[in-house]
């Protein structure tokens, strides 16, 4: 049985090509993923991200529970509305999932991937702590409105002047709604978690206001241009944060916070041999997941590759030896062709930042 978000019929009505994704029936595109991509870079687009798992955690031990599970330090979230990005690790330091954690009035809210829902809920149960309770918020929909004009459009449509002042990676509560200034595109924007019943009307009003409906395909090219990892592709349980470009989310201070994976990470961070970095291929063709890479210091692999609508050539995230840099080669249909390693992101706030 394929799951459907509350916006399923609205997607179909908007001309979406629906595809199965992580157990859900989701819009891939609404005609042209490149048009959708460009709308997000130049004005505003809206993505249905209701398939992602929202989990509310509360109780007097909620903080201690998350401090044990999340490699970033939720203790840094001092006031309701603050958010951080981090990873759930196993004891070996392998990444179980990446997530965003918001501090709320009642406790915390975690947003985890759709594909990892069952695994994460099982992990929570395995590591349960008395005084920390969680519940999945299947009653909520989640709309990501992204692009340079996204905040202005949502501010007007929802009559929320406070939104314009909201700092990045912060959220505000508005009745049953929670609006975070967060996203997965490299642009300014918001993610709006709201009761499912209200989401269809908001989606319709956004489209009527000229916001472009955007599907999973555009989401993938936008996040890759922004140098953001996709769990299950750029990092899995076989990878630790240091070789996945998210070492910055590991909080080893305070030294007495004993999170799962800590011991492994303390030694891994001194000895790791691979890294995740960017690659640009300006030749004819598109680099894709699992293509082989040769650097001057050893072999590597493409973890994600797309045609970048902004750079108008192929870009990729690649896992290569830690010392690799500069010129490399990538194998496309049996031919080794020249490419170049670069530091992501490729695009930031609409501008190409790497060449």
């Amino acid at each position: 049985m394929t799951l459907r978000t509350p916006l399923h019929d609205a997607h179909v009505a908007a001309g979406a090509r629906m595809v199965p994704f992580g157990g859900w029936d989701m819009p891939l595109h609404y005609g042209s993923q490149i048009v959708e991509h460009q709308a997000v870079r130049s004005s505003a687009g809206v993505f249905d991200v209701s398939h992602m798992t929202i989990i509310d955690i509360d109780g007097r031990q909620a903080r201690a529970f998350l401090e044990t599970l999340v490699a970033n330090d939720v203790g840094k979230l001092e006031a309701p509305g603050q958010a951080l990005y981090g990873a759930l690790l196993n004891a070996e330091g392998g990444i179980l999932d990446d997530l965003t954690v918001y501090r709320t009035e009642q406790g915390y809210r975690a947003i985890v991937n759709a594909s990892t829902r069952d695994k994460v809920l099982a992990w929570f149960a395995t590591n349960r702590r008395s005084g920390a309770d969680w519940r999945e918020r299947k009653d909520l929909a989640n709309l990501a409105v992204q692009g340079p004009e996204a905040v202005a459009r949502v501010t007007e449509l929802c009559n929320l002047p406070a939104l314009a002042q909201l700092p990045a990676f912060n959220a505000l509560a508005h009745g049953e709604w929670m609006i975070g200034r967060t996203g997965y595109t490299g642009e300014d924007g918001v993610e709006i978690m709201l009761p499912a019943a209200e989401s269809v009307s908001l989606f319709g009003r956004l489209l009527a206001a000229g916001v472009q409906a955007a599907g999973l395909a555009a989401r993938d090219t936008l996040r890759l241009e922004a140098g953001l990892n996709l769990y299950g592709q750029d990092m899995t349980e076989a990878n630790h944060p240091y070789e996945s470009r998210i070492g910055w989310t590991v909080a080893l201070e305070p030294a007495n916070r004993n999170f799962i994976g800590r011991t492994s990470l303390e030694s891994l961070r001194k000895h790791y041999t691979r890294k995740l970095t960017g690659m640009i291929f300006t030749g004819k063709g598109v680099v894709r997941h699992d293509f082989k890479v040769r650097t001057q210091v050893g072999e590597g692999v493409v973890t994600s590759g797309v045609f970048s609508p902004t750079l108008e050539c192929s870009i990729a995230l690649v896992r290569v030896p830690r010392e690799a840099k500069g010129d490399c080669e990538v194998e496309i249909r049996g031919k080794w062709l020249p490419a170049r390693l670069v530091q992501p992101p490729f695009v930031k706030k609409g501008l190409v930042v790497t060449r």
């Binding site: 090509r17 891939l28 595109h29 042209s32 993923q33 490149i34 395909a217 090219t221 004819k284 063709g285 598109v286 894709r288 797309v306 045609f307 609508p309 249909r333």
Partner: protein, 131 residues
């Protein structure tokens, strides 16, 4: 429902073929194929003068989403390629049966086209694709 012109011949691998008045065969990909591929960003075309067998790999079309091989519908020699696709691959999405054509063949035997599907037969292939 995608557009399937009645005057063309089709392969189950989603190429269309049109027998021209001069006995040559123009080949492209179908509306159904361009829609399934999404935005086309690159087309690798064969060299003019090269011979190909029927069902031989003759070209590659890459969309943002995937790369697909294009097969020669009949055996013959490439006599022209569509240079427009070099700079404007999106033409394949915009006009798959017109300006988005791929290449033209001089077939070894124009009668070979009879072995291809007609519009009705190809519509069945597409219908089965949906499931």
């Amino acid at each position: 429902m995608s557009d399937i012109p009645r005057d063309l011949k089709y392969a189950a691998s989603h190429e269309w073929s049109r027998l021209e008045a001069d006995g040559t065969v123009t080949v492209g990909i179908t509306d159904h194929a361009q829609e399934a591929l999404g935005d086309v960003v690159y087309v690798e075309l064969p060299e003019v003068g090269t011979n190909f067998d029927a069902q031989g790999e003759i070209a590659v079309v890459e969309s943002v989403k995937a790369a697909s091989d294009i097969y020669s519908p009949v055996s013959g020699k490439v006599i022209a390629i569509n240079d427009v696709l070099e700079d404007s691959p999106e033409t394949v999405n915009q006009d798959p049966y017109g300006d988005g054509w791929f290449f033209r063949l001089q077939p070894d035997d124009p009668g070979d086209l009879e072995a291809l599907l007609d519009a009705e037969g190809y519509a069945e292939v597409c219908a089965n694709d949906e499931h």
